[in-house]
Amino acid sequence: MTSVKTSSPPSPPPTGKSPGVALHAGTSNLRALIMNNLRQSGIYVALVVIVGLFAVLTDGVSLSPGNITNIVLQYSYILVLAIGMVIIIIGGHIDLSVGSVVALTGAVSAVLVIQQGYPWWVGILAALAVGVAVGAWHGFWVAYAGIPAFIVTLAGMLLFRGLTLRVLDNISLSPFPADYQQVAAGFLNGLLGGDGFDAFTLLIGAIAVAGYAVSGFRTRVARVRYQQPVESFPLFVARVVLVGAVIMYFAWQLAHARGLPIVLIILAALVLVYGLLTRRTVFGRQVYAIGGNLSAAMLSGVKVRTVNFWMFVNMGFLAAVAGVIYSSRSNGAQPAAGNMFELDAIAAAFIGGAAVTGGVGTVVGAMVGGLIMAVMSNGMQLMGIDQSIQSVVKGLVLLVAVAFDVYNKRRAGSSR
């Protein structure tokens, strides 16, 4: 054992420095990749397992075109909320008020459109304005008055629920005009024809796959040019093919149902925009910095108050978007609308890998977390499982996900 040996495989091929580095560079160490991203890859695996499990348990009904469309329609507003929530959680805060804000914004919209007879878009703009105002209210108290977000938004939860009751005068309003209903119930269908399926939906799916592949490849090329480690090329191809296949399968199923839901377009646009916002903008990076180490962020010149303020304004805006979608889907406004939505959104963020202590989390992760919850609820509903059991299962999944996160962190901490 005196000779110096590295843990390289027995017969390493000579490393030829070919010009096409972007194609061949990188580590092929799949295991290291998985271990390094255990938290992230873990939820993807969990999602696949849960989808597979319910596909079997429901004899494939859960993967039928109609049901997939249903899941999208039914849980889109939770996913919209989860986008804002994960940003709040990364920043080290929490927002308990979003359910009430969903109700309030929907109520304002319903009063204007249903009661006062304004056109649909006036209702939507008013709802968004109310959402932004609510966010600014929370942001003021958290960022400038220094009150913990838990308290501020707990107060907001009561406050805006009360205002909802006031606005609606304690009654439900219904129905919205057809235009308004399109937001949540509309489809883009038949634009390009197709025999028994919608060609347009498939085209959009194909564009999404191409976009994913191209942007992935460009990032990879840049990384290689800056001499950063990247995954091995076969692994990269495998990833693109796998994601592409999932997207195309998804599009195929939608195309055989009612086509491309408008709400899915809204959601996809939001995920794209907020994915970039969190990863690529100064604002997004400062959110991570604040959540990761508040003192260090302050001493690095980050304007902590300003960033915290806008985080909450953004949450208010997204809660309003969810409010519009929800009111459109339920075709009206009810005093109890959006009850407990905040908990679903928070659960989505945490299952999706956000850390309780802040500084960690991704928009995509929160979407996967939300989908895990959605597929589970939907599957259990299909199976006719009692509401009580559904609640128990969802609670346990949340607990296990966060316990896994804490365990991981402790292990990482002790190896330091």
Binding site: Q228, A289, G292, S295
Partner: protein
Amino acid sequence: MDDTILEMRRITKTFPGVTALSDVSLAVRRGEIHAICGENGAGKSTLMKVLSGVHPTGSYDGEIVLDGKPVHFRGIRDSESQGIVIIHQELALVPHLSIAENIFLGNERRGPGGLIDWNRANAEAATLLASVGLHENPVTPVIQLGVGKQQLVEIAKALSKKVRLLILDEPTAALNDIDSAHLLDLLRRLRDQGITCILISHKLNEVTAISDSTTVIRDGRTVETLSLASGEVTQERIIRGMVGRDLDSFYPDRVSSPGEEVLRIENWSVRHPSQDRLVVDDASLDVRAGEVVGIAGLMGAGRTELAMSVFGRSYGRDVRGRLFVRGREVRAHSVAEAIEHGIAYVTEDRKRFGLNLIDDVRRNVSAAALGRLARFGWVNGNEEIKVAEQSRRDMNIKTTSVMAVVGKLSGGNQQKVVLSKWLFTNPDVLILDEPTRGIDVGAKFEIYTIVNRLVAEGKAVILISSELPELLGMCDRIYTLAAGRITGQVPVAEATQENLMDLMTKDKERVG
């Protein structure tokens, strides 16, 4: 062999990358006040943490012998059950609980049925308070007491645990002269009652005044144990033991050619954020381009507080004084403004204040000047990688990739990341607060080389350090700070460890 209560034999304690204690031995006689002296970072606190079980048995090498029997402490509870109680520098009282509740915290006086017997607790607390000379009602919340009285509560708490060996870590650091005198009197009385004390103190006048013997520690090693009973050992003699270290050529050479003044503060005063006392008192100093100016001071002298208050008022309240950058008076009321004026502050506590430990090298490097990498709020990720790679090469940061998480790097490499972050803000003046604390010798040398390179490029550096040799080896001029006041300014040619230490301990000049 005389009556030895405690012996620590050949204690060696290492942290990843650093040896904190190396073969340290200590023998304490029963019923004496035994002082432990040494510079900041010499290993005094680590030694006491080993003794009290904070670093449990097995995490160090060596042997602890109490009353002739080897002991193995797995935690504070173990050592306290043997009558060893440590009072830390930062008091460990719960502010909103009463004196009695604090005294018996974790050790509650129970009556029948397991419920706490408050009458008994308060009565016992009153007795204990009387024995430490504190005349307060035991039900008073601790937050209403001054620091000096809180210190006495800590001692009363120790007495309640049937203490035999009381360890005090810098007990007078936060106290004024009157409170300090009271405390030292109390220690004498406790000794007369048979309680052995280990006293860690920077204040050598106190050490010579009340200790029976002192052990000097330097760089994690025992230097000597001096008996103070005869009264022949002077403060100067102890200082010699504390600092006696050969400088050799440990500090890279530098040609000094100071240019024009870059930063100047005048009549700078800072109030403690929650207590009513001045932490920095009417300080004035300046630094020129191409110059390294040192600030020497003992713990609690206000060095960090001075630096942070200059750096966008990130410490203290009621900051007064004038700040000039390149001869022009500027306003820097926020960190962002300070950075804009070309001031950078490299913190003494990189884990708490310097780094986002859960993020990677790349993003830590860019954190203080993300705007330089962004257009219309969009960060150029490729440029960022380039900057981080550049820093990695310039600073010789040892990491597999700039995407590596900073928390997993060694202390020296973390410090280089912090330095990189501040250099990327393109500062004119760098305030380095203990830049080599907790990093190994090789990395220290690298940091010194980097500092010299920066100075050669015309940057101004203010170096705060507890290690006098470091100041002597690196600086052009050294200011000394004691109790918030500048007590001297010495050109390096005239400075010695002895005359600096003398200026740093000039506590008596303190103005009421």
